[in-house]
Symmetry: D2
């Protein structure tokens, strides 16, 4: 598998605190699941995001979009798939699929757009080590 199509995958139980009065996962919780996908991505690529922050760089989120196809519930495990959809010198797009771990049904899809920031909050080129 080449670097270009590397897909990180992580699975965890849905938390009760993430549900809402409709009995399903609240739509903002899926955005946090996306972030868990990004964390898994960086861990699996051999560098944690925490280590990146220690270098003085932050991955700021400039946009998010999600499509909810099927609601999820407490009692299910969610599998998050995350990959890089587009990488330019100053912007990065991650794409996501959230699946019911048992059935494999895709419940939510989405993307997040990022820029690289220095500690001082300036937009910078992604450091070589991130590529």
């Amino acid at each position: 598998m080449t670097e270009e199509n590397f897909v990180a995958e992580t699975t965890f139980p849905i938390r009760y605190a993430e549900t809402d009065a409709m009995g399903i996962v609240h739509h903002a919780s899926y955005i946090v699941y996306f972030e868990e996908g990004r964390s898994a991505y960086t861990r699996e690529r051999g560098r944690s995001y925490a280590a990146m922050e220690e270098d003085g760089y932050y991955l700021a989120v400039t946009g998010v979009q999600a499509r909810y196809k099927q609601s999820m519930r407490y009692g299910q495990n969610v599998t998050v798939r995350c990959w890089i959809d587009e990488m330019k010198s100053r912007t990065l797009i991650f794409a996501y699929e959230l699946l019911d771990a048992q059935s494999g049904e895709i419940c939510v899809t989405g993307t997040t757009k990022h820029v690289c920031l220095t500690k001082e909050g300036q937009i910078a080129k992604f450091p070589e080590s991130w590529r």
Copy 2:
């Protein structure tokens, strides 16, 4: 002001719990602010969303998108502006602007897309009383 361009507005302090280790509001928290804008919208139009649920109808979220222009911090008050961007018989799009209440700077914009569900989870036309 006609019904078509009614804009609900609500202002509240940013909560410490909504920030993250970057020192700014976590990007998923803004999605919750959007929802507060929808709640304000239905309250200001004379019907609470809670009352709608009692009628047996739910407003399910089928999509969300947000653009983060300026980060917000604990200590600021956020003003949420919310209006209906598009209403069809079975789908509804709300649009949002999140502003720093003091400076008036627009920090986040976005939309959410909805369908009307019955208690049984079936997609339905929006009841007359919601229009």
Copy 3:
């Protein structure tokens, strides 16, 4: 009213995101309401907590306890009452009551215990300006 028995009060609508699949406010959300009470307390005493952090001091939480007497729901407004229960040179206890704003019924009570930390994470005496 003397300083000793000053009670801060703030009221806001319960958010849909704070409910869970039982249809009620999730028990961890009340802990965030407590924090909103502390924020209101410092604002009403003429100094925001944000300003305190700018001085290089942090109010770390070392303990929390809550008693849930009556569940709350989306559609209600919650009133948070917060006061200082005990202040020593190095520890501080805040107490809380959460009420249904309409009926005045007390739904949740609790306390949080704090120490003052410097930026470097050392326990310090509370600065004069905090007293």
Copy 4:
């Protein structure tokens, strides 16, 4: 190991969304970790909590207390240990320890108190199958 001292254990990465502007895990997030411990407890005892709810019983939280000894950060994995501290016919106390998974250091301890509710919100004796 007898039933009386069964300890459930689950480990997962700390999420960025769970941190706050102090750079550490927000104190309300640990209450959600406790709940993950309870979920692990019921799963490991051969019955999911989701299945319990299908039987028409809910485990309502009537109290929580936590002591924060050491702050946790993004980049760490947290291990949640959960066991039953006391079981009576109508009340149940779970106890928790949250550890840094790598060092084994205990960072947070706490308990939650529960009653068994029927769907109608009445307090009931715990059903035989829960014991």
